[in-house]
Every structure is written in structure tokens, then in C-alpha cells.
Symmetry: C2
Subunit: 361 residues, 2 copies
């Protein structure tokens, strides 16, 4: 098993990565002394597949377990769901030694983290991500949130987990589409921060798409290392360090929104956003033409979407203006300067944005 | 105008206290540079009385103002209300330079603070409390929250305001019952931390009950000073410093809950809780009989309730066991050791609790 320590002073925690890491969950939890009663937030599918594994790991270390199922959909990230889950926790919390386990993908992680952050002004929680997207990205760094009519993740908190345990054995049950959505984020890490990871992705494509466990473990480890480094230097995204993780996300979010959050999943929208950001980087002469070509090729190599299809450009641009990170009429893009290196650029001209969107139209 | 600085490192802020302090709101806000658009959360009554004063103070300094009205009732502290307010903020937040002003009593302060803490993972807010209870207590220290079916303040965050501005001129429109509810908290501060305040309350009763502005200003200042000192030493109530502020609250909350949150208001329930805590302090021989008598007399002197009337003891004791601060079967009481000094005691025997409740039955 591989370990990473995310350094954040008193809020530091470990990220454990490995096949069958779940078997050691009880042991690590005992050391952390978070409580006696584990409240496992998950969905029906994950409980059916891996519920007995997680409950056995907890029971053999003397923890009590409760499962709480939420729907396997972005709709679970709602204020109503937060209220329902907290009322349920309060009913089970008679010993006042309850803690939360987020057991699932990004939706469950975001919801569980937010619930933990606000129940009694904060109780401990841990992340046990089961998708590649959650293992490499959303489970790390303490961004939690739920959606409102007015926008995604409009309600949330920065609230760090006490442990992240990524069991890569869970990844074998992902659909190809889910795996690829996670790979889009892996490609993001390679492009912004890790030339070696870029090369690994080029070399090991066949193994990765065959769910080879040892290669997937390498990917999760490499991404977790990059993310934990950036988060520890800029927890609240105030210094343009953590911001680098938004590569592809500025227009990616707008594409996701313009598609009504159904046409493309997060990873697919991010792929398109990365293609647009690569085009802007090249056109602003920050990135060499050959590097832009190599970056684009990697995205295509993994069969991620290359064209926004019938989505209206006007809709995407309007969604982009409503992005919650857009401040005082200044946009903010993460752009590539070479393979494995990115920087934050503000106030990118609208002609470059339109040009980039046209290049993927 | 009097000023107190609450020291919390980067989260430090000022508390301004004085008659017509509101006129200087714009000036202070400009210095703080929180944004351009003030979103004022308040209720109909306060807007009718003081809305033009606050909007003029803001407009003359170049701020835009929006008023958002919520019902003047604990029912506004709900998850549904949080969602409604945030959707409304998001609609007005097109410039991304919005901040929140909590303009009202404790309900509005708790709701506004929580909304500010979770909208986009945190935007700035300030407190402009209009009741004595809010000025001396709830506006300071960053405890925010809303209620659930399962309990009061079960959802919340520690999230500090950027400024507290207590205009004591607002207090003249309080009903006698509201004034007295605030005085219950003032008495609490006197008993746990300030013998001079105790003497002032004894000497100036007539002036206080006549809403004498200069004496009320002294009370608000003295209490704010004590609270800010304790909060700066123990922001998250982890070290038994801030806990001292819960004097009278352990059984007070239980009495409030047993009365269905309608029989007694918060201040009245706290008065009864203080009388019970004084009895326990005396019976555990922590507090001299004469001091216990003097403490009790002060509460009676202000016409606060002395008896729980027809409330069932069993109901109060059951509510007490469900208190969210009750951990691992150990209760925690703040008890007096002398007039102006208190300490935290855990595991008070149930016979003392029953005895104390009987003494106010």
C-alpha cells in the first residue's frame, strides 16, 4: 500500500492507496480515534457490491456501522438531501461518537463532506472513493458542496477529511465511460504538472483500458501526490496554486452546464475544456505548436470527446460568464506553457475564447 | 463610539458599540473592502423601523443595497430558508462582489452567518444586531446555524463576521420582554466573569429598565469585551474557555426544548437554567451560600422567571440527555465558584441535577 501525507498543520491527513486497502480501514480508523459509530453514506449499487467488505473491515475493529443510501445521481447533491441525511444522523447519534464515511464517487463525497462540515458545526469524516474520478481528484482536498437551482456547488464548505482510502480494487467494476471520465482528470494532472505521467499514459494505454490494477494504482498515486501538494500550499484556492487544478474546467464547466449536465459527464466536459484551453495556450503563444499537438493527441488517444457537437456557442459563453469563479468581470484561465507545466492567466480576450470553442465545434 | 478588537489572527475583527454607530457603517465597510453590493438580511419590522437608516449609511458610501426579508420567527432558521436565500443571492450576485449584512436579532444573525459560510464556500458578512440579546451575545464569535426537526442549531458552522456594529439606539424599540431576555445574558456575563458588571446591574436597575442609553452602552461594551476575550482564546469551544459562556445554558436549553420553544424565550429559559446551575454550585460546595443567594437575587431583581411552572421534570431531563454537547454519556456544567467566576465541571451526579430542577419547580 502507498501512503501520502497531505500537510495542513492540524488538519493534515493521510491518503492510502492500494488494492484491497479497504481491509485495513478498521486499523487506521482505530488509530485516528474519530468515534465509535461509522455512518456510511453510499448508494444501493455500491452497497450491493462492496457493502459487506467495508462493514466487515469496520466490525472486526469494533466499530458500529450504519448504512445510509442516497440516489446514485447528481440530484442527491441537494439541500433537501442534506436535511434528510442530517435528521437521520441525529437519530442515530445518541452516543455522540458518530463519524461519516463517504463511500462512493464524487456525488457521495461532496454530499457527505458537506453534511460532516455542518452537522453540529462539524464532525469527522473520511473518504473511501470508489471511482477513478473520486480517487484521483474529488476525494482529496476538502472541497465539499451541494447544488442549488441557481448553480452547481453553490452551497459548500472547505472541510478536510481525516483520511482518504483509495482501494484500487474497486475500479474494476467501473464502466468504460466512468473509467474514461476519471482518465480525463488523470490527463489533466499529466498536462499541468507531470511529464512522467504524460509518458506513462502514452505508453500504457492498452493496460489502462484493460483496468490493469498495478498501472491504475500508479495513476492514482501520481495524481494524489500532485493534488495533495497543491492543496497543502493553497488550501482555499487563494494563491493561484490550487487554481492550476482547474485546467480545462473553466470552459469545461460551461460546456457541462450548456449540455444540461446530461449530454456530457464531468470528465467528458473537462476533456473538451482542456482541448479549448490548449488552443488558447497555443494562440496566445504560451505553448509551442508541437506541444499543443501532443497534448491534444493524448486526449484523443483515450477516446475522449473532441467536438462539442450541437451545443450552442452562445449558451456556453453565457454559462461561462455565470461561472462562480468569474470575479469583477475578469475571467481566469489555466493555460499550458509546456507539457507538464501550466500557469494562471486572467483576462483572456473574448476572441481567443470564441476561437478556441470554434476549434472544437 | 467604543471599539473592541476580537483577536483571531487573520480572522480578527472589530466590534463597534455606540448610539447612532449605524451612521458610520459605510465608512468602516469601505475600509474593509468586502465588496460593492450589500445584501441585507432582515425582517419586515426592522426594515420598516430602521431600513432607511442602514440604506442611507450604505448608499452615501457608494454601496448598492438589496433587502431580503425573512419571517420574524425561529422558523426562518430552516434548511428550506437557507436554500431560498441563497438562490436569491445568486440571482443578484452578477458582479461577484456581494457581501451579507445580518440586520436583526439572533435568528437573523444565525441564518445570515450560516448562509455566508456556505454560499460559494464562504463570502464575507457583518453583523448589525438590533436586539440586546444579539448585541451582547449571538452577534459575536461566529457561531452560525439553523434548526432541523431533530434539534435546534443542528446544522451550522463556525464562521466569523468581518465586523460587528452594535448601535445601542436600536434598543429603544425592544419590548420589555425582549429587553429582559437580553438582560438574562448580561447577568450571565456578570456572574461568570465580571463582579463590576454585577454591581452595575444592582445599582442601575431603574435606569436599565428605562432603556437609559448610556447605561445600555456600558452593558453591551462589558459583555462584548468578555465574549471577545473568551472567543479569541477558544474559537471552537475546544478548551473549556468559550464553554464558560454556556453558564445556565445546559439546563436552560433543556427547559426551552421541554417548553416547545414557545413557553419561554431563550433569555427566560437561560434565567431558569442559571438558577438551577447556582443551586448545583451551592450543593456541590463550590459556591458559598451567601454568594448563591446574591446571584439568585440579581435574577429575581430583574423580574426574570423563577419557576418552571407546569413543565415536566422528566421532559426536561430527557431533553438534557439529547443536548448536542453531551458527549459519551458525560454531562458538562458551567458552575459558579464566586460572584464573577465560573468553571467547567463534568459528570455532575443526576441527584444534583434533579435537586436543582426541583428547587425551581
Amino acid at each position: 500500500m502507498r501512503k501520502i501525507r497531505l500537510n495542513l498543520g492540524q488538519r493534515s491527513y493521510e491518503i492510502l492507496i492500494g488494492r484491497h486497502a479497504i481491509d485495513q480501514l478498521g486499523k487506521y480508523l482505530k488509530k485516528l480515534d474519530l468515534g465509535t459509530d461509522a455512518y456510511i453514506l453510499t448508494n444501493k449499487l455500491i452497497k450491493a457490491k462492496y457493502g459487506s467488505q467495508i462493514s466487515q473491515a469496520l466490525l472486526k475493529s469494533g466499530f458500529n456501522c450504519y448504512f445510509k443510501l442516497v440516489a446514485d445521481s447528481e440530484k442527491s447533491k441537494s439541500i433537501a438531501c442534506v436535511g434528510g441525511v442530517i435528521n437521520d444522523i441525529a437519530r442515530r447519534d445518541f452516543k455522540k461518537r458518530i463519524f461519516i464515511i463517504a463511500f462512493g464517487g464524487g456525488v457521495i463525497g461532496d454530499l457527505a463532506g458537506f453534511v460532516a462540515s455542518v452537522y453540529k458545526r462539524g464532525i469527522p469524516y473520511i473518504q473511501v472513493p470508489t471511482t477513478l474520478l473520486a480517487q484521483v481528484d474529488s476525494s482529496i482536498g476538502g472541497k465539499t458542496g451541494v447544488d442549488l437551482c441557481a448553480g452547481k456547488n453553490l452551497v459548500g464548505a472547505f472541510y478536510q477529511p481525516k483520511l482518504v482510502l483509495s482501494d484500487t480494487a474497486f475500479l474494476k467494476s467501473l464502466s468504460t465511460r466512468q473509467l474514461k471520465a476519471g482518465l480525463a482528470e488523470v490527463i489533466k494532472y499529466a498536462l499541468i504538472a507531470d511529464k512522467n505521467l504524460f509518458n506513462l499514459l502514452l505508453k500504457k494505454r492498452a493496460d489502462i483500458l484493460k483496468y490493469d490494477p498495478s498501472v491504475l494504482e500508479k495513476l492514482v498515486y501520481a495524481c494524489s501526490l500532485i493534488k495533495s501538494g497543491l492543496v497543502s500550499r493553497d488550501e482555499k484556492e487563494a494563491l493561484d496554486k490550487r487554481t492550476l487544478l482547474n485546467f480545462g474546467h473553466t470552459l469545461g464547466h460551461a460546456i457541462e452546464a450548456a449540455g444540461g449536465f446530461s449530454k456530457y459527464n464531468h470528465g467528458e466536459a473537462i476533456s473538451l475544456g482542456m482541448l479549448a484551453a490548449i488552443e488558447i495556450s497555443k494562440n496566445l503563444e504560451l505553448l509551442k505548436v508541437a506541444d499543443a499537438q501532443a497534448a491534444r493527441s493524448l486526449i484523443k488517444f483515450y477516446g475522449l470527446p473532441e467536438k462539442i457537437g450541437k451545443l450552442s456557442l452562445a449558451k456556453i459563453i453565457s454559462a461561462h460568464f455565470h461561472d462562480k469563479k468569474f470575479k469583477g468581470n475578469k475571467n481566469k484561465f489555466v493555460l499550458l506553457v509546456s507539457l507538464g507545466k501550466a500557469k494562471v492567466v486572467t483576462n483572456v480576450g473574448s476572441e481567443f475564447i470564441r476561437g478556441a470553442l470554434k476549434s472544437i465545434s
